[in-house]
Amino acid sequence: MSDLTIMESIARLVPHGSRVLDLGCGDGAMLDYLQRHRGCSGYGIEISDANVLACVQRGVDVVQLNLDEGLTLFDDASFDVVLQLDTLQHLRNAETMLRETARVGRTGIVSFPNFAHWPNRLSVARGRMPVTRRLPYQWYDTPNIRVGTYKDFEVLAHKNQLRVLDAYGLQDGLEVRWLPNLRAGTAVFRFERG
């Protein structure tokens, strides 16, 4: 699955002209895409020097911040959409940041690697942690410190009184709506505060 397909798929969830906050925005590619193709505005948040530089090079507004310190810079419901794409799994305070996402954004969109994707299950059944294209790290050097599943997220969302507006899996550039917890390497949730 190419990055561009993931980007296009998730970008479709962002209404035209939205004010967007992208938590862990990487090199700013998503915001750049949303600004060019969907008339959006907004900011990225990044901790890495290299990614901050990449954003400035692209002309994407970026604020250098450690997400584990929270989102105190941002007021309640100050963004139409808060994105947390492939970020959740790197955060120590993943649950707090999920609540912060729902506080700052009118809607939140979260995507993360689904640990219950069948090749991962197979690998664990064989007694080894999965090493795949989606999860390319060894267990001892992975930056993914929160490994969870599509179903796990449903439980966490419920616990935090989030209303899930849409949820599906992504695999090979396609949306997976039938048995996504088994059939998709990536989980995508769109939600709002309940």
């Binding site: 004010r19 900011y43 020097d49 901050v52 530089l53 954003c55 400035v56 090079q57 692209r58 002309g59 507004d61 970026v62 604020v63 250098q64 911040l65 810079l73 941002f74 007021d75 100050s78």
Partner: protein, 380 residues
Amino acid sequence: MPMIATPQSMHFAEPLPLQSGAVLRDYMLAFETYGTLNADRSNAVLICHALNASHHVAGVYEGQERSEGWWDNMIGPGKPVDTNRFFVIGINNLGSCFGSTGPMHTDPATGRVYGADFPVVTVEDWVNAQARLLDALGIQTLAAVMGGSLGGMQALSWTLQYPERMRHAVVVASAPNLNAENIAFNEVARRAIVTDPDFHGGHFYEHNTVPQRGLRIARMIGHITYLSDDVMNTKFGRQLRRDEDDTAPGYRYSTQDVEFQIESYLRYQGDKFSEYFDANTYLLITRALDYFDPARAYGGNLSQALARASCKFLLVSFTTDWRFSPQRSREIVKALLDNRRRVSYAEIDAPHGHDAFLLDDARYMGVVRSYFESMSKELA
């Protein structure tokens, strides 16, 4: 081949009303420019200086060794602020001692040297004076105003005083105002100067003397606050100062000799400074720092204060800067976010304290370079 800088000056006969209510009847501004103003006059960048710097921002003076401008690593041909693309202007602020009208000049009203009678000038007054010089140069709109520390305060003030005259503000290692600790350091420096017997109430020129002792101490305390604990320990630690022929390994057991390297360093910095800097200028500039507080008129609400700003912003801070800490830059970022202004913010993990804004750091230089590169794409 280094870029050659040529200092210029301009006389202003129209009185400048100051924030204090006083009026500066007649004044000169020293300035330098680098690069070429383009046909539609859209590529001008104003660089604002901090406490002890001047209009000599970049380049060297012909035939003078080691005469590089104070931000020569940042500004020049092919540098992050590229003078092949931008027309860069450095202006010496009023009250300074490097060419613009200041306390060592003659007050046209009395025929006497101003000395301590030079009116108190503020960041806002400086910005008004800078705007007049730009008027005279035929520059209506600036591509950017950029500054570090007190220079960053001027850049921020520009966005509030002349929002329609600029497209970008680059604010480095700065703050929306000084905190109590900062004012306290300034006050220690000022007391050192004012209580020097050679100060003569600020009219020391008439006594053919200079309050060098006060200036030295002011500079020493300033220098401590520009460095970080780490850098001081790495550079000096507890090293003793010893002459080469001195083989004695232990302490001298003297309370007044230079014993540690850090003492020697601070004394050297103080001595050097006291030979070229004006005492009244030091008082004026530290006061301008103390007074700057755009949120004051809004009950301390910086978000309301920055509502007037309309340009895009780049803010940079340094993690070990405790004089203008990252937290202070984040306050500005937050106020801009509240106002939905376009802003990027880089927090550079550099060890050098406040001084980092003048030093080469690849991440810092890279961000500023990229920001100006994307700015230059906006130019025709």
